[in-house]
């Protein structure tokens, strides 16, 4: 075939052209709504940008300087840190325990798995409404506490407890999701490893420590990464339950960004805060990767 080389290159060329056609719609959508905004937000952060004015003023770093002196911003940072540090370890541990329990040889495993997963597929608006009822002063939680002679507070109305109460709701609603991730991880560990450990005389704790734990490392990494990104974005429950209050006790970074833009219409300022949020997430996940990166297979 004398022409094979030429037709080989045109074939390659055609393949690439069709690939770009296949990708075109996705790339247009992602460019408009993800890549473009990522670039644009870096610009907006340096402006005093207000949608209700025809022209915008360049500010330089002034938005960032103002953030550095904004007490509410630091409250939001602190609340976000407390939120993530509280929720991520607890939901990860709970998800792991649930997965280990459901993975045992017990009746009705599918039923339990489904039951734990239901909060994760339910609208956050719905779970927020239900927990508002549970947490209210005459609500279910205080009724249960009254059995033990405890007079509970109005949980969401108290600056001391509101954030913790929303954190508990978050653990409740996402543990089931991560349990499924751990279950998949558990089932991916080869049975032969457990048998080898048994032959070597490992106790059940030894098998857990030396087979299960190392085998779950990639899942753990995934669960913690998603947990961090998720908790840094918590918004729906805060909007629904406490609107950032009382006295800003539940104002998180994402809520701060939202009110800066959509209540005070300070888009440049909100963009600057969003840039800080993104930088923190990148930093935290990078540190976490350094500590716990699963070895590439």
């Amino acid at each position: 075939m004398p022409n094979s080389r030429r037709s080989g290159t045109t074939e390659r060329y055609r393949e690439a052209v069709s690939a770009y056609f296949f990708l075109l719609p996705s790339l247009v959508v992602l460019s408009l709504f993800v890549f473009g905004p990522l670039v644009f937000i870096l610009a907006v952060a340096f402006f005093d940008w207000n949608l209700f004015r025809p022209e915008q003023h360049f500010l330089g770093a002034a938005n960032f300087v103002e953030l550095a002196g904004d007490e509410l911003f630091f409250t939001a940072l602190r609340n976000t840190a407390v939120y993530a540090l509280g929720v991520v370890p607890i939901q990860t541990l709970l998800a792991l325990l649930l997965a280990l329990a459901v993975n045992q040889n017990i009746p009705a495993r599918g039923f339990f798995r489904a039951a734990f997963y239901i909060p994760a597929i339910t609208s956050s608006v719905v779970t927020s409404i239900i927990f508002l009822w549970i947490y209210s002063k005459p609500g279910l939680l205080n009724y249960v506490l009254s059995w033990f002679g405890i007079v509970g507070p109005d949980w969401i109305g108290s600056p001391k407890y509101a954030l913790g109460a929303i954190m508990a709701l978050n653990v409740w609603s996402t543990s089931g999701y991560f349990m499924v991730a751990f279950l998949a991880g558990l089932q991916a560990i080869p049975v032969s490893l457990y048998e080898a450990a048994r032959i070597d005389g490992a106790s059940s704790w030894g098998r857990f420590r030396h087979v299960t734990v190392p085998g779950l490392k990639p899942t753990l990494f995934f669960v913690v990464t998603l947990g961090i990104i998720g908790t840094f974005q918590v918004f729906d429950q805060i909007y629904m339950m406490s609107a950032g209050g009382p006295v800003n006790a539940t104002t998180t970074l994402s809520y701060f960004i939202y009110i800066s833009a959509f209540r005070y219409f300070r888009f440049g300022y909100a963009a600057a805060a969003a840039v800080v949020l993104f930088a923190i997430i990148l930093l935290v996940t990078r540190v976490q990767q350094k500590i716990a990166r699963p070895e590439a297979p």
Partner: protein
């Protein structure tokens, strides 16, 4: 013998703990269901009666007559369906290019897409809103649908699936003279029903529950989706618990039914999208 007893008692303890956990995870839903059938009034009477003395449909009726619940239901369904169909087609199309076609920039592009999974919604929220505002699209269905038409997770899921199916059928279709799109449309998609079903369910459920974006991009009640409408109802009037719970039940019901019917696909979806990187 003692080993067996110990094993049995350990399993019994695990079972009891699991039952307690089941109560914690599911009873809140049963209570909200129960409250939604109570007559308006005191919802804090203890102990709770899961089956109220007086069962009424009044709360559900009022959702239809006193607030634009039907409109929100229509908006939510329409938007979620449009978004799901768009994702099924576009994610599969892009996933197929990554799975089967060679082109310059393939690895770079794929890495770029994966990197976007780290971008939180709040980071792109403000510029996304400004773009739609500049285009005069705030408070339109386009604004609700367009940004959600493609998901990187969906592209990734479809790519993984396409890589797992044999190439023979596609090669045969090529020899028969189909072009690449025809191969994709007539041969690959029909063979991808399980993956498409998983993606469709995942997308529908995610979009149905979406709150932040519809909250910022809709401004009038006739464009609200269900979660936004119910949130506004909570803030606009004094808290009407029985009606709120009826609304909550109706929002939760479709995702719950879909989950119970297609459980296996949900679990698979997480397992493949999240873990087998």
């Amino acid at each position: 013998m003692t080993g067996r007893v110990r094993d049995l008692s350990r399993r019994a303890i695990v079972l009891v703990l699991l039952l307690v956990a089941t109560g914690i995870f599911t009873l809140p839903f049963l209570w909200s269901l129960s409250i939604s059938f109570q007559p308006a009034g005191d919802v804090f009477r203890w102990p709770i009666e899961l089956i109220p003395d007086e069962v009424t449909l009044q709360n559900y009726r009022r959702l239809w007559t006193e607030i634009p619940f039907a409109r929100w239901l229509l908006n939510s369904s329409g938007v979620a369906l449009a978004v799901t169909l768009a994702n099924l087609f576009l994610d599969a199309l892009a996933g197929y290019a990554f799975a089967r076609l060679r082109f310059p920039g393939r690895n770079l592009l794929f890495a770029l897409l994966l990197a976007t999974l780290m971008v939180p919604a709040h980071v792109t929220l403000v510029p996304k809103f400004m773009l739609l505002n500049a285009l005069g699209l705030v408070n339109t269905y386009t604004a609700l649908i367009a940004p959600a038409m493609v998901q990187v997770v969906g592209i990734f899921l479809m790519k993984q699936f396409f890589e797992s199916i044999p190439r023979q059928l596609e090669e045969a279709a090529r020899i028969d003279g189909c072009n690449r799109f025809q191969v994709f449309w007539r041969v690959v998609l029909p063979a991808s029903r399980p993956a498409l079903a998983a993606l469709g369910i995942y997308t529908f459920q995610g979009n149905w529950n979406e709150f932040l974006w519809p909250l910022v991009v809709t401004t009038t009640s006739d464009r609200f989706t269900l979660p936004v409408g119910l949130a506004m109802f909570r803030y606009e009037f004094r808290v009407e618990w029985t009606m709120l719970m009826a609304g909550a039940v109706l929002i939760a019901l479709p995702t719950l039914l879909i989950f119970l019917v297609f459980q296996r696909l949900f679990i698979q979806g997480i397992a493949t999208s999240g873990l087998k990187g």
